[in-house]
Assembly symmetry: C2
Homo-oligomer: 208 residues x 2
């Protein structure tokens, strides 16, 4: 008989192995390829043992997606998106948008898993995961504050999300193979051009 | 024994019934709820008979999505998006973007099926369907021509797609329940504000 401490540490090890295996599967083949049977084979446990370590596959997907969000956030901070820029708000918008574009292009299936994860009815999003997601939008608030100093914090938060979403849209439909995907250098040009247009037009649109 | 003509007309009838049943399922419960067994029950045929009428479920999804694209296109033309506007390019951009927003909000699962349909490897998109998709982007070219008369047609086509995609992004992340969805009136305000900003900023961004 094994001690409760040992059992807990085995469960923790199994959970870590399962998250790693799920991450590799998603990276290689996307969210839809994730199956309990394959994960069990990969980590060398029985299918039923998975549910001693995690509640369901959704828990694994959240864990993998949390890593992807963290990696995306590192690419934002590497682009200097967390501090007031010396070269102006527009340049910072563009850097942030290009960091997002490059991340999406380099991490296709992992990036898509962030949006493709549909929760079963009644399953809630873990609060820390939600906070991670919303924090990513907040990077856009830094240049927005420079560009539109007069708006309320609430409005700035909402607008940051919408600007992030606009860039997300350009990238998601730009990389969509079903629509003849746009080559990355051309997509980067499009993102740059439209983000510059938004940055220039925002103060004027706010005046009315 | 039934005649070949009769057999063909039965097949056509079965196909039409299957498309209608698939449309109802997608409308009610989304793409993921689509199952051959349920469709067969709904139209009153054997599961195997489905494959006498269509090659696979993807063919049904394309047929439903083609109807959704046609409905979306009607909402664009109803918004006057197919002709030069009397009230200027910016107003037309906004009308088009709000028509898209309202369509998405009113047709959630059907609209999501346009983007959620992942093709099996090797399955090609039917050319007419691709043409339908790309034609929707082209509505944005009408106000773009007014706003940026000097750009080449090729660049205008690309930019129209990117602008469409930016609005798509605002709407898709705005309506996303996982991210605390934005109430429709607030979302319409955000779309209006950002589209105005882009329309105002585009000529300035093009100058450099």
């Amino acid at each position: 008989m094994i001690s409760p401490t040992k059992a807990a540490s085995r469960r923790a090890k199994l959970k870590a192995d399962l998250i790693n295996a799920a991450e590799r599967t998603i990276e290689r083949e996307g969210l839809r390829a994730l199956r309990a049977r394959d994960l069990a084979t990969e980590v060398g446990c029985a299918v039923g043992a998975i549910y001693n370590a995690v509640a369901d596959l959704d828990e694994l997907i959240f864990a993998v997606n949390a890593r992807t969000l963290a990696a995306l956030e590192r690419s934002f901070t590497a682009a200097g998106a967390d501090r007031q820029p010396a070269d102006g708000a527009t340049a910072q918008f563009v850097r942030l948008a290009l960091a997002y574009t490059d991340f999406a292009a380099a991490n296709g299936p992992r990036w898509r898993a962030l949006f493709g994860h549909q929760l079963p009815a009644g399953r809630e999003i873990p609060a820390p995961y939600m906070a991670d997601q919303l924090r990513l939008f907040s990077y856009v608030e830094v240049p927005l504050q420079t560009l539109l100093p007069a708006i309320t914090p609430k409005r700035r938060t909402l607008l940051a999300r919408s600007l992030f979403s606009a860039v997300h849209g350009i990238v998601v439909l730009g990389l969509e193979e079903k629509l003849q995907s746009i080559p990355l250098p051309v997509l980067r040009e499009q993102v740059t051009f439209l983000v510059k247009a938004m940055a220039k037009g925002l103060p004027q649109a706010a005046e009315k």
